[in-house]
């Protein structure tokens, strides 16, 4: 196991804590909270694409499965929100396992298309099974959130909760990045042929990663549902999967800060664009295109290059 980047983790911790003290306005806090949700999702997407080479264009579906499953189960059986979220996470991992079994045998654009198809089907089900999900009008019957008896309501308490979850996730991600598993995955991404001759069971590994990231994304979705107080299928459609793809690529594929930086930039972007909202989509696409063409390492790669330059001066 390689050395964990403690300075980076400490930096994240400092930013999280100082944000809580510097930002008092609930509106801006809510933007940071959404940014953290996006960062976790984008990082999971990054693990799939940047580390393992899997383009999961249906990733938003797992976010939605987590959100809907958690609130529906809590509303129907009256169970504790946190338990519902954990169950949702397990359910999503199971779905990913079942879907992944045939899907992960495919490659490249066939894989992309299969995951996209899966995502679309889930989206249609969210819209059509209105008797469970509330249909296009969304699901409103979301109870107040509590964590082992501690009631969490409103931006201030949710910020603390989400920030803790986010930090824990970042630590785990950092540990994963420096572990043998990440080596294995990147090896698979580089050359499946070579990695197979090393004795790596590619299929099993991919299935494992796919299921775990689906579970994490769903867990995230459950918390999102309780924070938002309202969910509707439109938040979990193909567009969101594309947003995650953009965040991961612009942030930097295959790196830990990648998903975080990408999510930070692209979540904050609409706020600065409020007056030129119409151009937001074009800018989004341009960011993605420019990154692919000129900055293959994303913003993280750019920052690393700048830091290295400074170090060698």
């Amino acid at each position: 196991m390689r050395k964990i980047n403690y300075p980076f983790l400490i930096l994240v911790l400092i930013i999280l804590i100082s944000t809580k003290f510097l930002i008092k306005n609930e509106y801006y806090l809510s933007i940071v909270i959404f940014g953290m949700f996006n960062a976790i999702n984008a990082s999971c997407f990054n693990i799939l694409l940047g580390y393992t080479g899997i383009i999961s264009l249906g990733q938003a579906a797992f976010y939605g499965i987590g959100a809907y499953f958690a609130v529906i189960v809590a509303a129907s059986f009256g169970i504790n929100p946190m338990l519902a979220i954990v169950l949702a996470s397990l359910f999503s991992a199971l779905v990913a396992f079942i879907i992944g079994y045939p899907t992960l045998k495919l490659h490249g654009h066939y894989l992309a298309m299969a995951t996209l198809g899966f995502g679309m089907i889930i989206y249609v089900l969210m819209n059509e099974m209105a008797f469970i999900t509330g249909g296009p009008s969304g699901f409103l019957d979301i109870s107040k959130f509590s964590f082992f008896g501690v009631s969490i309501y409103g931006e201030h308490s949710f910020y603390i909760f989400v920030a803790i979850v986010f930090f824990l996730f970042t630590v785990l991600f950092e540990m994963f990045d420096k572990s043998y598993l990440s080596y294995k995955l990147k090896f698979i991404k580089e050359s499946e042929f070579a990695s197979k001759s090393f004795g790596i069971n590619i299929f099993k590994t991919k299935l494992l990663v796919f299921s775990i990231t689906a579970g994490i994304t769903a867990f995230n979705g459950g918390i999102y549902a309780y924070y938002s107080g309202f969910i509707s299928p439109v938040s979990f459609n193909f567009n969101y999967s594309i947003e995650l793809l953009t965040m991961a690529i612009v942030g930097g594929l295959g790196t830990v800060p990648g998903g975080i930086i990408g999510a930070a930039v692209l979540t904050a972007l609409p706020e600065f664009m409020a007056s030129i909202e119409d151009y937001e989509m074009i800018l989004y696409g341009c960011f993605l295109a420019v990154t692919i063409i000129f900055l293959p390492g994303g913003l993280t790669g750019l920052i690393k290059r700048i830091l290295n330059k400074n170090a060698s001066d």
Partner: protein, 373 residues
């Protein structure tokens, strides 16, 4: 001394903040409901301008913060929170769509901000939420009007085709619930989505049941496609639309297929056809002339909803002030007033104040609206 100067400075800075009325607005200016949202936006901007020219409301100018919900419920929520937390508005007018309103209903209470919705679903005011009012007629009234019309014509076999969104859903519930009361038999119950491009499958299924009338409940371009497909399939049942298509844009999109379509709507569209002594005529003609002169486009009942909502808001500020509780109780005691949608009678238990008489039945003929009895 420094502290005193600081306080004085803050007061001077704060004065502009307090000397104005901050009004938020959420409309579906773009997206599938845009031919509702755009007239609403234009009407509200026109009214705010007019009111500011004569010194504002209760001596204070009105500052308008208007956002586009793009017809999306999640966007409406985001922008509502922005209006309340960042722009610190005193009240919000809108949103355009029933779905969006239902999605933010509880936020109005959470953030203690009065909401004057321009959406139709009766679920917006039932169950009653202290902070939420609505200006359009309810779908209950629209359905009642339609069924009454059919009953008088001796028709009873009805096929319904509704949109899969808040408005269509609400309409469908009413159509099913009120059917027995008027002796209507629902022989088909089909649905379509806002983004569907072809409804021939649903309409074919409907035609097999041989209904006397087909009632279509939706907004945006989709009902226009329903009209076109109905014509294409040569169905000879009467085609009835909801008040969601009471706009010239619908006639434009449906083209020839719009001919003969019947719908309930507010009197605004046929203001000129009303008798000279009709009590609604003056308000309607004034609004119609002002709007059409300013924007060079036909008036629509949706703009009228924004007009009525603004009237409620204005009254609330004048008689009650900016504090939510006072504003709300002022509006609740507004008594009878004549708006574009009809005669309102808002009370503490009825935050809409309209009944069936707010509607008239219209027929589309030669690309224009015709009052029928």
């Amino acid at each position: 001394m420094k502290k005193l100067l600081g306080v004085v400075f803050m007061i001077i800075l704060a004065v502009p903040l307090y000397a104005e009325v901050r009004l938020g607005a959420l409309f579906a200016v773009t997206g599938p409901a845009s031919f509702l949202g755009l007239p609403e936006k234009q009407t509200l901007e026109m009214l705010v301008e007019e009111v500011n020219k004569t010194g504002g409301i209760a001596g204070e100018k009105v500052k308008l913060f208007l956002y586009d919900t793009k017809g999306l419920d999640t966007e409406a929520r985001k922008k509502f929170i922005r209006l309340v937390k960042k722009d610190k508005v005193d009240a919000v007018i809108g949103p355009t769509r029933s779905g969006s309103t239902l999605a933010i209903k509880e936020l109005a209470e959470k953030y203690k901000t009065p909401l004057f919705s321009c959406a139709a679903s009766k679920r917006i005011v039932q169950p009653l939420n202290k902070y939420v009012f609505k200006s359009p007629q309810s779908d209950t009234h629209a359905v009642g009007k339609i069924y009454n019309f059919l009953y008088k014509k001796g028709k009873s076999k009805v096929a319904i085709i509704t949109a899969q969104n808040g408005f269509g859903d609400s309409g469908r519930t009413e159509l099913l619930e009120l059917a027995d009361e008027y002796g209507m038999e629902i022989v088909a119950d089909e649905k379509f989505r806002d983004t569907d491009k072809d409804m021939t499958s649903q309409l074919t299924k409907i035609s097999e049941t041989n209904p006397d009338a087909i009632i279509c409940w939706g907004v945006g371009p989709a009902p226009a496609l329903v009209a076109k497909n109905t014509r294409q399939l040569g169905l000879d049942s009467m085609l009835i639309m909801s008040h969601g298509v009471a706009s010239k844009k619908f006639i434009e999109l449906a083209g020839n297929a719009a001919e003969g379509i019947i719908l309930p709507a507010g009197r605004l569209l046929v203001a000129e056809q009303l008798e000279k002594d009709n009590k609604f005529r003056e308000v309607l003609i004034n609004y119609k002339n002002a709007y059409e002169k300013r924007y060079d486009s036909s008036v629509s009942t949706f703009g009228g909803h924004a007009y009525d909502a603004f009237m409620m808001f204005k009254y609330g500020i004048e008689k009650g002030g900016k504090k939510p509780a006072a504003m709300i109780s002022a509006v609740e005691n507004m008594g009878a007033f004549i708006g574009t949608a009809g005669k309102f009678n808002i009370t503490a238990s009825d935050h809409n104040g309209l009944d069936e008489s707010a509607f008239v039945m219209l027929k589309i003929h030669n690309g224009d609206w015709e009052l029928i009895n």
